[in-house]
Amino acid sequence: MTANGIAPSRLARQAASIGLALIVPALVVAAWAAVPFFVKVPAYKLPTVMEIGEQFWVLTSSGKLGWELLVSGSRFIVGLLLGTALALPLGLAIALNRHVSDVVRPALVFFQAIAGIAWVPMAIIWFGFGQGPVIFVIANTVFFSTIYNVVRGVESIPAVLRNAVRSMGGTGIGYFRELILPGALVQIIVGLRTSMAFGLRALVGAEMIAGTSGLGFMTIDASQSYGTDTVIVGMLVIAVVWYVLDRAVFIPLERKTVVRWGLQRFQ
């Protein structure tokens, strides 16, 4: 009886949770729809839900949204790969050699403080408007974020393990492959999520200022002609993409690797 009783009640509880969670968004949408009846707002400032749905359909069926998404996505990937590839060797050098760390760290802290969108204007001078500055700024952001993760990953390896590997004669490649790489990997993967979150902001920000295409450009371009519906569609698409990416890729990936390498995440 109990075995039969549990499943429906859990289902019911989940349904109740989902129902409760939907109330507020429904209220927000209702309030949104009701505003024009009470306050006089110019239509361009607050398009209706229907208008946004229509605009979404127009942008999707014409292929524009898909195209901008593709453009932004490919820039994001290129910038991410570039930044990570450059950051790994330097991060490892800082983490493994105290002299390198001492010399580089203060400068690194400074560059970390200005990483990201502040580079956009200079990047425009160097690469012109378009995708050059966007990729540069993403790579720049990811680079400094990843270095920090690599250093922290290596530093999180307990000294006991280092000493153990060393005392058993582990040096050079073996030391690196058997201890440093697996030890630091968890933090690097966990940190990748942070790096991507920063990278995404760099992407959107850089496209707004320096872009000639992409989702960020689409929204800022639309705002200049008061295409508020397009702006909101763009915002929602960016949020949904990031939400799906995080839930479908990162959280499982994190769980898998953390379990696989048998390490706990300290938080």
Partner: protein, 260 residues
């Protein structure tokens, strides 16, 4: 200062000096127009000129005022919302998923909408800063409240604590370490949002300096703006945020994980 700390500082300073030296020397080597690759000397001259004219100090003051105002308002709203939501289980279940989703909203994506709503200028920048502060503060405060053991709240109640007393004596101290953590994250986000907001819609400030000067090809000023931005952030972080975090967390006797 100990000997090792001193050599560490010397090594760090040598790293920065090396970068400056290489930068200046490379300007002589590469043959590009000065606006394409301004030299440190040119940046220094820009610094002197803009300071003497009083432009730089007034820009820094403007930026700081906006930052301070935005962070204060955002933190107050974030904490208040967290306490309000946490005071009712129903509100928590109703609003939780929505807050989770809003947390995924890239803050910068709001800027075009803010521009349409509030125009270019101070309101947009302020709203942007306030907005980016609210979420980390709210999110972390709520997770701090969730982490309070229910038995503590029950104990306080069974000892005769009123709702208000439970809030003040149990919930608030339990929330604070996480809230401070959220505040630190928010303070960092807010600084970026400030610069970005000023890049897009301001007539003064460090972000404006960085952006506006490139349109006149005065890139020595752009680089000066970037350096000011970095130093300003390090100044805020080292002089205010870290001591604040240390003081509050020591005071409440709790340990949180430290980033950087």
């Amino acid at each position: 200062m100990s000997w090792s700390a001193q050599t560490k500082m010397l090594k760090g300073a040598s790293g920065i000096a090396a970068i400056l030296l290489l930068w200046q020397l490379s300007v002589y080597v590469v043959d590009v127009p000065p606006h394409f690759y301004p030299s440190p000397a040119a940046v220094w001259r820009a610094f002197i000129e803009m300071t003497e004219k009083g432009i730089l100090p007034s820009y820094i003051a403007d930026s700081m005022l906006r930052y301070l105002l935005g962070v204060l308002i955002g933190t107050a709203i974030g904490c208040a919302l967290a306490l309000l939501i946490a005071s009712s289980k129903l509100a928590m279940r109703m609003l939780g998923p929505m807050i989770d989703f809003l947390y995924y909203m890239v803050e910068l994506a709001w800027i075009p909408l803010f521009v349409i709503w509030f125009g270019f200028g101070l309101p947009t920048i302020l709203v942007a800063v306030v907005y980016v502060v609210i979420w980390p503060v709210l999110f972390n405060s709520l997770s701090g409240i969730r982490s309070i053991q229910p038995s503590l709240i029950l104990a306080a109640r069974s000892l005769g604590g009123s709702r208000w007393q439970v809030l003040r004596e149990v919930v608030l101290p339990g929330m604070l370490p996480q809230a401070v953590n959220g505040f630190r994250v928010a303070a960092g986000f807010a600084f970026r949002a400030l610069i970005f907001g000023e890049l897009i819609g301001a007539q003064s400030g460090i972000g404006y300096l960085i952006f506006e000067s490139t349109t006149h090809l005065q890139t020595d000023r752009t680089v000066l703006g970037m350096i000011c931005m970095g130093l300003l952030w390090l100044f805020i972080d080292r002089n205010y945020l870290r001591p604040f975090e240390k003081a509050t967390i020591d005071r409440w006797g709790m340990v949180v994980s430290h980033d950087s």
